[in-house]
Symmetry: C2
Subunit: 81 residues, 2 copies
């Protein structure tokens, strides 16, 4: 059965996020002062799996093997059904 | 008051997404066949605003002026409070 899975990948607490710094800087130049800015990458993937558990397991493997770098990233997986 | 706003930016339907294609290709090489893959960039921004409406307006301006390209992107804004 086809499942849609939402994988959210963000930098671990304390990791430098140069993209976030650049955006905060650009926003400040436009007159928008910000207190904090975090970037998250979300992949919405549709693929075949036996059941919801299997979909979640497959998504975990995709994160571990390709999408996330365990040293710097944390990720969360949401099986949308 | 400080508000946390979640801004999600994705490519409009039908726009080419080379990053998504590259990831699908890499996943296939690892043995994971996918039916579809979409990428979304989420910015979680904390900033001062008068009230919830003002926070939403400011976030819209940030999208229009910097974060999103209206020709190719669609965006959604969620004021988390």
């Amino acid at each position: 059965m086809l499942y849609t899975v939402k994988i959210s990948i963000s930098l671990k607490e304390g990791m430098l996020d140069p993209e976030a710094s650049a955006i905060r800087h650009a926003l400040l130049n436009l007159g928008y002062e910000t207190d904090d800015l975090r970037t998250t990458r979300v992949y919405t993937i549709r693929f075949n799996a036996a059941d919801k558990n299997n979909a979640s397991e497959k998504a975990t493997k995709m994160c571990e093997r390709l999408l996330a770098n365990p040293v710097i990233h944390s990720y969360s997986i949401e099986v949308m059904g």
